[in-house]
């Protein structure tokens, strides 16, 4: 599995898009000599290069080393063990490798639509994927390992020990599926993350009690940040494979032959040793592959949500989360928006200036960034539960938009009516409550409805702070079964079921009020 940051429009992603655009991904980029040696074979001479067909391969460079990462000394070059395997495969097929950046969760969909011929970036071997795609032999065996705080080393040795505890992992992965299976058995609480940094920082800070992830990722995080221990016995073993489109079985067979050959001649072992991910169990795995012994299947069932029927309850639960989250966030946004608008219309110069600054900051910065700051950035000061952080984050952001709507609506009530109110002796508060407010509400109704529908959809952003709402749940299901078609349609229908009645209600109210 590859780590990933599916943050929309993240800076890193932009850099990648630029950096890898025209990348002929040669493994020669690696700084280490032996890797360079292996990769040089792929390139041959310039003349040969020009005539050779191109093999496009997709991977997620955000996953970083040792899978796929940009060479720090030259960001246009990729390196990693998956990169070197891609070079070997291209060489074996007589092609020149060309790297295509793709988000990890989209590798399956992209390979099927033909964005590239092979997907290779810590793609996990799963029965559901085997049904829908042409998958290669498992070229690497990894362990799903538990990371816990040092004090819990003896307490939490297996998933069963973590009944009722919060355990983090990357969403849409095999590990997440294992946690969901365990949830049914022991009531463990799976927490889904979008990248592989925050699960470990949350583990250290005490937000969660364990992290279940691939040994490669766990060990990398241990080196980077530390503060936790990895249980030596893996919870399960699983494998990385090369993914091809379903109909591309001929090429898949060639890829298998290349993998076998590289396993047999020791070059694949060399690559794994170079990247420090070779373990004794790997030799046994190679022997099994070469001896045609079936590889042990993953301990997790991996089928918990592969059928539509078993997925529906999860989808409805997620839809409920989306709806409750959106309603609470909108209530906060409306309440705060009214106060901000009133302050901007009635307040003194300093109040108006401060509130304008609030509005501009909240509107002018991405809500995603605000969610990150509230959930992770403020964790040292106040450790909010994810759901509360989501409500507050979305509520504070939308309050800025609501405030502008209400301010405009308040100012749209004719001045002469306010003066008529004054001559009749109403206090300013009464004028707001009895004359200005009710009319402003009518002006604000249509844009408010728009905003609520937008909020309903924007609530999908909170998956970055571990809240599994409708879109995230759909994405998990889609990755599970390797197709977006049915999950996408279902998800869309559920969103529409929530938003259409709202629009209808608003239109009716508008019609009723249009007389007055």
């Amino acid at each position: 599995m590859n780590a990933r940051l599916r943050t929309r429009g993240s800076l890193r992603q932009l850099i990648w898009l630029g950096a890898v655009a025209a990348l002929g991904c040669s493994g020669t980029d690696t700084t280490r000599e032996s890797a360079a040696q292996g990769a040089t074979t792929a390139l041959s001479t310039q003349g040969e290069l020009a005539t050779r067909p191109v093999l496009k391969w997709g991977g997620d460079a955000e996953g970083g080393a040792p899978f796929v990462e940009a060479d720090p000394s030259d960001l246009t070059k990729m390196r990693g063990f998956d990169v070197e395997l891609a070079v070997m495969i291209a060489e074996g097929l007589g092609s020149t490798p060309e790297f295509v950046q793709v988000a990890w969760a989209s590798i399956a969909a992209s390979v099927e639509r033909g964005d590239f011929e092979i997907g290779l970036s810590g793609v996990e071997d799963r029965p559901a994927l085997r049904e829908r795609y042409a998958l290669s032999l498992p070229y690497y065996e990894f362990g799903e390992v538990l990371a816990v705080r040092p004090a819990d080393r003896e307490r939490f040795r297996s998933l069963a020990d973590l009944a009722g505890r919060r355990v983090g992992t990357l969403g849409s992965t095999l590990a997440y599926q294992m946690l969901l299976d365990e949830q049914k058995r022991s009531g463990l609480v799976p927490v889904s993350y979008e990248n592989d940094v925050h699960p470990y920082s949350d583990l250290v800070s005490g937000r969660i009690d364990a992290v279940l992830l691939d040994d490669i990722i766990s060990e990398r995080s241990l080196r980077r940040t530390g503060g936790f221990v990895i249980q030596p016995e893996p919870v399960a073993t699983a494998h990385y494979v090369v993914m091809l489109a379903r109909a591309d079985t001929a090429r898949r067979d060639s890829v298998n032959a290349i993998i076998r050959a590289r396993m047999a001649d020791g070059s694949l072992e060399r690559v794994f040793r170079d990247w420090n991910v070779w373990k004794p169990t790997q030799a046994e795995h190679f022997a099994r592959v070469l001896g045609d012994v079936p590889t042990a299947s993953v301990a997790a069932t991996g089928t918990g949500m592969t059928s539509l029927r078993s997925y529906l309850p999860a989808l409805l639960r997620a839809a409920g989360i989306t709806l409750v989250l959106s309603c609470l966030a909108m209530a906060l946004a409306v309440g705060l928006g009214v106060l901000v608008a009133a302050g901007r219309v009635y307040g003194g110069r300093i109040t108006r200036g401060l509130l304008m600054a609030y509005v501009e900051v909240m509107r002018g910065t991405p809500v995603l960034l605000q969610l990150f700051v509230i959930y992770y950035g403020l964790a040292g000061v106040v450790r909010l539960p994810a759901f509360a952080a989501a409500v507050i984050g979305l509520g504070l952001n939308y309050a800025a938009y609501e405030a502008e709507i209400y301010r405009g609506a308040l100012e749209a009530v004719p001045r002469a009516q306010l003066e008529a109110g004054r001559t009749l002796g109403f206090s300013e508060l009464q004028i707001l409550r009895l004359i200005r407010g009710p009319q402003a509400l009518r002006f604000a109704l249509a844009p408010m409805t728009n905003d609520f529908v937008a909020l309903l959809k924007d609530s999908s952003l909170v998956s970055v702070i571990t809240v599994v709402e409708l879109t995230k749940q759909t994405s998990i299901y889609a990755t599970n079964i390797g197709s977006w078609l049915v999950p996408g349609i279902l998800c869309g229908v559920v969103y529409l079921t929530m938003s259409l009645p709202l629009s209808h209600f608003a239109r009716r109210l508008e019609r009723r009020w249009s007389v007055a």
Binding site: A420, R422, L424, G425, Q439, R442, A516
Partner: protein
């Protein structure tokens, strides 16, 4: 001699250093209808708005009943409670509350400002609607009313607290000539033993028809 309903002395209004009203003295007696005439920009509406305590003035005094308005910023609503029931204004364009029916426009202040009981509020509204001939339109919203009806409802709303001084800003601006004479008669009937009217208008014929006295204003002074 009875005390005037309105007494203005040495009124001066400046905006951005420019004098708009340059020293006006004016008394309006109870029962009197006084028309302020002049071309646009002569300062008619400004005088009305100052008397209604909607705009500040620079110098002079304005006295209505026992309330004396002083130069400087307009006093907060809380300090003008009795003044607000003594002086009402009918705005050009009516300024009815668009979200309320004609009936509710008239009763809103009686309920929420004067806090009359429901029966008294209903009786007063009925009386005013009958007086002004708009009883059949009590349930209509402002945008469903004709210009003449809206004006009558606006007058009913202003009369509801029974003010001693009623200000009217350009009451004929939205009316055709056939209706003006009818309105002039109606307006004249609104002044009673205890109520004075000060009307701004640029309509000579209307002023002559409804007012006991016509004051002409030009360039911020009475001519």
């Amino acid at each position: 001699m009875t005390a005037p309903a309105l007494r203005i002395r040495g009124l001066r209004v400046e905006r951005s250093g420019l004098a708009i009203i340059k020293g006006v003295d004016l008394d309006v007696a109870p029962g009197e209808v006084c028309a302020l005439m002049g071309v646009s920009g002569a300062g008619k509406t400004t005088i009305l708005r100052v008397v209604a305590a909607l705009e500040p003035f620079t110098a002079g005094t304005v006295v209505v009943g026992d309330t004396v308005l002083e130069p400087g910023p307009v006093a907060p609503q809380s300090q003008l409670a009795s003044f607000r029931t003594n002086v009402e204004m009918v705005f050009q364009g009516h300024a009815l509350f668009e979200h309320l029916t004609a009936g509710d426009n008239v009763t809103l202040a009686l309920e929420h400002v004067l806090r009359w009981d429901a029966a008294r509020v209903r009786a007063r509204a009925r009386e005013l609607f009958e007086l002004l001939g708009v009883s059949h339109r009590a349930d209509a919203y402002p945008r469903q009313l004709s210009g003449g009806e809206a004006q009558r409802v606006a007058i009913a709303r202003a009369l509801a607290p029974d003010p001693i001084l009623l200000l009217m800003d350009e009451p004929t601006s939205a009316l055709d000539s056939a209706r003006r004479s009818a309105v002039a008669a109606m307006v004249r009937s609104l002044a009673g033993a205890d109520r004075a009217l000060l009307i701004s208008t640029h309509d000579e014929e209307f002023a002559m028809a409804c007012a006991h006295r016509v004051i002409r204003l030009d360039g911020g002074v009475i001519v």
